[in-house]
Subunit: 361 residues, 2 copies
């Protein structure tokens, strides 16, 4: 057993728990028996196709402990479904999502003491599927390995929300029609690092992925994005780009949309969320965001993802100037604040919801 | 020592030699000492970034043995240069190409008895560079591993050239402006497997990558491509798409261009290559190829790459019909045949050239 580092020293993805889940697959024999064993190196032939042709996909999900000690996962069915969609896109094997989820629950139960007791902490669960065929032809792999590792993680903003500055990337792309942007594949990440690094060099925290000559806003670094506009009637429009094949169908994205829509349609009331709210999945251009900023119609802009949940933005470096975005005193805006509160309440078990799936009572 | 399988049973990428080269890198300590050891599995933490974010690139080059037993590599400087360019694109470490080449020569010398004695056989050398940082943040990796493995390979067409049928892919893309198509990265390969599989289902051997609404021809499967048109004056135009950021700068592509240009400019004479030859790097659309086919102006179309050298094409399935492409009785055409002969002569040492770099006398 490894020693558990103090919670306040945890960095995202640096510390892993005692165990891991591995499930091998072969074209002729199918899925082998799932095995939970000690966290340990993988021994793979240097000819394994993952090393050559990037045959890899992954998921990210979190296990939370509530005040009574109950451990739960947040909407894990969505991760299982997306993981299978990712597998199909690069000819890796698909699997029974319910069965994998039971194995993951077993792993989380075994390592649940790794979830720090402090509020805001959780266990990040990383299912990964790689091609392990040992012959280097470019083809659907005849061997694969699914593995799941876990790391205890802290709150993304331990000292309260700190809005970030984005750099609108025009030199590199994240996705294109006919490509892989809608799938959680390794191939979407390695090429984005240089864009991030260039944004950092220019003094921005993350990059904003733009698409096409119109500079459509698509994603923020490795998160989905939302923007809020003030409408002529005084109401607010919450907008996120549509799932057009270039946008990752994020679980947090879907949750933000579902909460906002149920509030807007009066199916349920989210405390403090403005009542005159329209929810849109539609394309947004930088020209529209820039004009709204200038005319005082831009209300807020934020990223949404499993790691940070909600990540407010206060400016976008774009074509040589900064587009300013309002943020509240607490760093958040009038739409993101109540949605974040509802979302985190449901994730941590403070607010009961069917999105929360019990792992351990 | 492994036993050497009979040459005629060798399949591309199935058999590896006795040794491998490994060179570790760390952000703070730089490149570690190169080590040539037994071919053996790599032990990597499951959190290694190559498994999650596809931080991998590779090269492909061949070592040939001539009749006198001399072993040489073909234009390896180009592979070293391209490998460094690939590394920069995904924030992996760059290196001294000359120094790496010396290490690769040492490895090839050690395993040169693996090159089958039969004509047409060679040793395929696969340098690979992967991110091995063990923390799962999306960032330039702080650790990497460069390794080189080798496999004995046979002639791509052991029974003479067999032209292949291509399927013009319109649903998936290989590359897009601002993406990674011009770099030899793993991320360009995993997403292409489904397109290949769909082509195969429809009865085609490989897929043809098209770009944009104009359906520009870009690459053939994992090869560069060339097309030859008959011109109004009876001359021939050899065309390949330009290096516009979406085309892999192939060593075979460059060699075909260099040979054809030196012949066209009368700098050197390639036996049997037509004299009235124009060489163009310019975009070509499917509409142009289709019109030329209908009007009898299409002379030939072929793929070019390290594995197959030249791969002639006899038809392209496109938008529900087949575009027919002429081939000679031997499967080749009037431009590819003499260029292939010159190229293979230079590769195998039968024709002296400065492109051939001696590894062992």
């Amino acid at each position: 057993m490894k020693t558990h580092p103090p919670a306040n020293t945890l960095q995202f993805g640096h510390t892993f728990t005692d165990h891991m889940l591995t499930i091998p697959w072969n074209l002729f024999t199918g899925w082998g028996p799932p095995k939970i064993g000690p966290y340990a190196p993988l021994a793979l032939e240097p000819s394994s196709t993952v090393f050559h042709y990037a045959q890899t996909l992954f998921e990210g999900m979190k296990a939370y402990r509530d005040k009574e000690g109950k451990v739960s996962l947040f909407r894990p069915d969505m991760n299982m479904k997306r993981m299978n969609n990712s597998a199909k896109r690069i000819a890796l094997p698909t699997f029974n999502g319910d069965a994998l989820l039971e194995c993951i629950k077993e792993l989380v139960r075994l390592d649940k003491d790794w979830i720090p007791k402090e509020p805001g902490y959780s266990l990040y669960v990383r299912p990964t599927l790689i091609g392990t065929q040992t012959t280097i032809g470019v083809s659907p792999p005849a061997d694969a390995l699914l593995f799941v590792i876990c790391c205890p993680v802290g709150p993304y903003y331990p000292k309260g929300f700190k809005p970030v500055a984005l750099y609108g990337t025009t030199e590199y792309i994240r996705a294109a029609p006919g490509g892989t942007g809608a799938f959680k594949l390794g191939v979407n990440y390695a090429p984005g690092v240089v864009a991030q690094r260039e944004a950092a060099k220019l003094g921005y925290v993350q990059n904003l992925w733009l698409h096409g000559p119109e500079h459509y806003l698509t994603e923020v670094g490795t998160m989905n994005m939302f923007v809020v506009f003030k409408q002529p009637d005084g109401g607010l429009e919450l907008v996120t780009p549509p799932l057009d094949g270039m946008i990752l169908p994020g679980v947090t994205r879907d949750s933000v949309l579902a909460l906002a829509r149920s509030h807007a349609s009066h199916t349920q009331h989210i405390p403090n969320l403005p009542s005159n709210l329209t929810v849109s999945e539609r394309p947004v251009t930088m020209a529209e965001v820039k004009a709204a900023s200038t005319e005082g119609r831009l209300v807020e802009l934020f990223g949404a993802g499993t790691a940070a949940v909600i990540s407010p933005v206060d400016r976008i470096g774009y074509m040589g100037e900064d587009v300013l975005i309002p943020t509240g005193e607490d760093g958040m805006g009038p739409v993101s604040r109540p949605i974040w509160k509802e979302l985190v309440g449901r994730q941590t078990g403070a607010i009961k919801s069917e999105w929360s799936v019990t792992v351990s009572e």
